[in-house]
Amino acid sequence: MTPSPSSTAPASLDVSGLAYAYPDGHQALFGVDLTVGQGERVALLGPNGAGKTTLVLHLNGILGGGVGTVTVAGLPVEKRNFAEIRRRVGIVFQDPDDQLFMPTVREDVAFGPAAAGMRGAELETRVHEALEQVGMAGFADRPPHHLSFGQRRRVAVATVLAMRPEILVLDEPSSNLDPASRRELADILRSLDVTVLMVTHDLPYALELCPRSVILSEGVIAADGRTQDLLCDEELMRAHRLELPFGFDPRSVSVA
């Protein structure tokens, strides 16, 4: 299930020594080191205020100027590479109403590739493929606000898939979804052949989808290992304000 990071291809994501303080002086990251190999699915866990969003916004250069480096498939995140970096790093934000800003689904999915200069039939094919991947091909001409929340989340995933990203970064992908939509999204994410970094508080979801997890706590990576091992380590969980839902025992689940 997990292709081990091959030694020849550069890691999809390589963060090293990343530290960052906001202009108001609040320091959010204190030297983060994280490597995500090609094709891996990794969950980024951590309590509120641990710096997860700050880290995510460093991956495509929205935030920067601190210490340390981020490279995406060998390409450093620097101003001169921003266009290519933003194509390679597909961030799906938490609220699909923020992510989907165009009048129709089709135009929204086309936005990224079109911004990169793609036109005409090639663009159409790209849009259709991306919508096909998330099972939303029949909704291309709908305005996003006429879709259900789960459908909007899936279209939001398609908007970044259309850019053929190296790594898909999902911010709370399961939030506000009903159980069926949550499962449908999981099926979609499993079917994609792409590196995934998933920021989530939904620990069962992390266990279901990501063989590996890292815990970000107080601006550093506090733990990195098999998701099941981390979730079973009660002391570690408590130390970082992570709690499993009532009645959920990670030991009782067999994962591939």
Partner: protein, 253 residues
């Protein structure tokens, strides 16, 4: 949420008028209005001919007369003041039904009413044969400042989102026992408006973040190229050209 799938003004169809590229229709409607406005008001028959032209376009677009007339009601508040003109204007007066009316006022009222109605009719036809989205693409194609087009585009997308937010805030207020009524509650409503503004502003920032993350660098990428053939332009030009002929006759006769 839950509005129709197209904008309310739009009437779905496949007529030749529907099929025309949006920027041709925009240009034609605009030219038509300019021509109508520059017609002398004394040429009463000219306005009758314009109305016939509009009716012909409506027929070509298969827009029923009732539909068009109902949509025309939108101008009522705007022309209400035209009705007052014969009463308040100065100058020579005539007796109509026992009322003393100003002649120049009557002409003024006729001028506003006729030109206004024709202008609104042309706009209604444009709106009912062109989707809102297509209109914006047309405006973009006609080289309207891109910032204006972008703002309008976001208005279509976020109008419903913001209305919904407002509705939720209103439900939250009422759930806590608040009923708006009377001047004493204006303070609360003003605060709601303020909160809505801040929420929308913050949403704007998040949307911008999402756009930048997908490669936005200041200009919207062209996704749908709207192009018009020479024949389509010629077809769209029929209305303003015919109107221009009428207008010229109005000036010379």
């Amino acid at each position: 949420m839950g509005a129709g799938h197209a904008h309310k003004l739009y009437r779905h169809g496949h007529s030749p008028v529907h099929e025309l590229p949006p920027h041709c229709k925009l240009a034609a409607a605009f030219a038509f209005v300019v021509v109508v406005v520059s017609t002398p008001r004394e040429a009463v028959w000219a306005f009758g001919l314009y109305a016939v032209l509009i009716a012909a376009v409506a027929a070509a677009a298969r827009i029923p007369a009732g539909f068009l007339l109902r949509r025309l009601l939108i101008e009522v508040p705007f022309v209400a003041f035209a009705v007052l003109m014969p009463f308040v204007a100065q100058g020579e007066r005539v007796e109509v039904l026992g009322m003393s009316l100003s002649v120049s006022g009557l002409w003024g009222a006729w001028n506003v009413l006729a030109k206004g109605t024709l202008g609104v009719a042309a706009s209604v036809l444009l709106a009912s044969t062109t989707e809102l989205r297509a209109l914006l693409l047309g405006l973009q194609r006609l080289k309207l400042p891109p910032l204006l087009v972008q703002i309008a585009t976001f208005m279509i997308r976020y109008g419903d989102v913001i209305t919904d937010e407002l509705r939720r805030m209103s439900i939250a207020r009422r759930s806590r026992g608040f009923e708006a009524g009377g001047i004493r509650h204006w303070g609360v409503l003003a605060k709601t408006a303020g909160a809505l503004f801040i929420r929308s502003y913050e949403r704007g920032e998040r949307v911008h973040l999402a756009m930048v993350s997908r490669g936005y660098a200041g200009s919207m990428p062209v996704i749908d190229e709207v192009v018009a053939t020479r024949a389509q332009w010629a077809y769209a030009a029929v209305l303003p050209a015919a109107a221009l002929a009428v207008c010229l006759m109005g000036w010379t006769l």
